[in-house]
């Protein structure tokens, strides 16, 4: 196979001798050492492996690596700017939206694709954007809160509240 070239988290990368059956998740994890992309099922059913390819959230465990030829690929590792966590990562911390954390990179990448395309998403858009991501720990409320918090911050609004601490969770307002 010809050399695979793509932009990974803003940097050009080149992969020689790619086995064409390699899914993107395995290329990232095994060959490029980016272990932040998790594999929960390997069958496209859990969203733990979500990354962004040319602006779209994809499940990288099924996405053939060769298909990223010439594409822009973003993974969880690309979100941090220097020491500065991305606003979504910061919001996940503040809203307590990660427990075991195995699902978190996938949720954050799904949310990032949403916010990149729709900076002011409705709750409905938020839940649709993460409907393909499974989490067994959190019950999702704090994740929805975190994404909403990040969206408000990106829009330059007040920080807003963290309703979970007052014992309230809402999927729909």
């Amino acid at each position: 196979m010809e050399t695979l070239r793509f932009i990974l988290n803003g940097h050009p990368v080149q992969v020689e001798d790619l086995d064409p059956s390699t899914p993107l998740a395995r290329l990232l994890r095994d060959q490029l050492g980016l272990i932040g992309t998790k594999i929960g099922c390997g069958e496209g059913e859990c969203g733990a492996c979500t990354v962004i390819v040319d602006g779209k959230a994809v499940v990288s465990c099924l996405y053939p690596a060769w298909k990223v030829q010439g594409a822009r690929v973003e993974t969880i590792e690309g979100l941090k700017q220097g020491d500065q966590l991305h606003v979504l990562q910061q919001a996940f911390i503040e809203a307590n939206a990660s427990q075991c954390g195995y699902c978190s990179p996938g949720f954050i990448m799904s949310a990032k694709a949403l916010l990149d395309a729709h900076p002011r998403p409705s709750r409905e858009q938020i839940i649709q954007a993460i409907a393909g991501n499974l989490c067994r720990c959190t019950g999702y409320y704090q994740i929805v809160d975190a994404i909403e918090l990040a969206a408000r911050r990106l829009a330059g609004e007040e920080n807003g509240t963290r309703p979970a601490e007052e014992g309230q969770g809402r999927i729909v307002p």
Binding site: C41, T75, N96, G101, C135, R136, C137, G139, A164, I171
Partner: protein
Amino acid sequence: MNRYIGASVERYDIATKVAGSRKYPQDFNMEGQLYAKVVWSEYAHARILAIDTKAAEQVPGVVAVFTHKDVPVNEYGIYLMDQRVLAQDKVYSVGDPVALVVAENEKVAARAAGLVKVSYEPLPVVTDVRLAMRPDAPLVHEERGTNILHHIPIRAGNIEEGFARADVIVKGSYYTPRVEHAFMQPEAGLGYIDEQGRVTVICAAQWPHDDVRQIAHALALPEEQVHEIVPAIGGAFGGREDISLQILVALAAYKLRRPVKLVYTRAESMRGHGKRHPFYMRYRTGATRDGYLTAVEVECITDAGSAASTSIPVLQNAASFLAGPYYVPHARIDAYTVYTNNILTMAMRGFGATQPPFGYELQMDKLAEALGMDPVEIRMRNLLEDGMRAVTGNIMRHGTGIKKTLEEAALAAGWRRTSAGWQKPDLGAPSAPHKRRGIGIACGYKNVGYSFGFDDKSEAHVELRLDPQGQIARVLIRIGASEVGQGVLTTLTQIAAETLDVPIEKIRLALLDTAVVPNAGSSSASRQTYMSGNAVMRACQKALEAYYEALRAEEGQDVITASYVYRAREMTPTTPYDPVTGQCEPHISYSYSTQAAIVEVDTETGEVEILRMVSSTDLGRVIHPANVFGQVAGGIHMGVGFALTEEFIQQEGQIITQSFTGYQIPTVLDMPRELIHRNVEVADPTGPFGATGLGETPTLPTAPAIIHAIHDAVGVWIDSLPATPEKVYRAMREMGKKNARRRQGG
């Protein structure tokens, strides 16, 4: 003081988790590592006639194919050693590993695994617990002479007298299915020989010190020659309480003296670890006209599957809860756990306390209906309080907060307390003409810590590092408590910071390596906050005393150390069941929950939507409000799955549900649209800062509350979980037919 207890501080390890840099077992790799692949049993029950590994061994890149012959002591098990590391004479379920292929890369290992030829002689398969109990049933473990693994009788009062005094008697049969933990991180492990020559396993585990005991046993090594390192764990819920692949990677590394990695696929994860026990429960409950319970009779059979795992302790727990959190003067309970050729069953969030509420709470609802009484009212009349006697003969103590949780949840759900007793709220009109609304409420309770005389203990070491001025500069805690996502690391740093009165940033926890940190017991039984919280708090208190002593003596020390072993039985002794009457002092402490569900049922499809869930939990004392909410919401997530969608299906022992398509856990779209949670803090004087435990009880009331709400909406009782749309729809149709017949007849 009290800066940290009750504050939602940043979770100890959350920043690296959201950054994607925190490593889970599959994220570890070593120079020169090999890859292993399991050859699984194809049969639910069969004799092994021969295992031919030749073809597999000849595949280029294959380094070894291990079978039972290679295992020094081919047995393990958390409670009884009735499991084989690699199948020997027979296979007991399709979850049994038969061989292990090790190769230079993953693909070769997988291909070669397919070439291992095992000749089987199929044996009769027994999967039904009632058939398995018959004397003529095929035996799962022949040498035991029976499939009945354990029986617990409980006799309180005089059951005949109890039923004679009843004005109304309600009967019911209930079934709860096999349930999969579905943690998001599939099992993975890396085994290697460390620089000191010890067998080392990196993996996710709830009780690493107990894993080491079992690994050392199987490899015939002294325990000092084995250690386990536990990095981040991607969820557990009881499913990592037992050994999964630990011995396999340890064995391969031990034999080959090279690092060996093994990662399960999702399908292998579902096959390779046990499940929640299916419960078959038959109830007979009697009450007086004004709703006071007079007698409860229960027969409960649980499916242990192919090996004992913790089925006996789970049964012990279950039996103690089957009568419900109520004052029951006369009780007769018989609980059995039975071997079958299904996949073994094991610990799962609630440990035998999750299934009984589906029986005892639906019985309460049916009683209330028979008596024309409000469901809150009937519960209020019967719930246990401090000083009351449970069916096991023990007196409730240390803050029995169940009534308070019922009151909180009922009020928050809209119930009104009137002079005529509690009254249900009006739910408003449904969102469409073909939909019906209903409300249901249920209670649940569960022990905290190990029970029935088990010597439950947790050990903590604390090290204070002092700066030249003699101030505490850093604190290092060594403790073997597994962070499975529940937040124990955060809780323990909060307790330490509070006790030592130092900023929380100064507190670090040592990496969980069994060779370095002391045994804290397992992250299960909702016990870590209580047990390890107590150990850390007391070790810190001791360290602080030594610190002040050193300051007074002006010795100029730069390190102060202290350790503490918290033994629950010194504070609250428990005792085993009396073998005839079941009387005992069962548990150290309890956690209590009540939940109300408001649902909308689509009468055309049987689909159930949960509009609102109201929850209340007594956890003694809130340490971290946001973590508490997270545990409650996560527990409810599991309860919603239990109620409506989750069923791990096996047919003749073969697995039908092998993926998240077949086995459906709730997505964000399936969760209650709204969740209101209220904490109740009835402090337990023996808990750290009054705290007890929380990890499990929020899962308990969810399913009975939802099923009760479905009944309230459309009139049908779903006595067998999960309440799938087909099941609800069918039940509504049956009811419609029956009503029509009755109208015609009358």
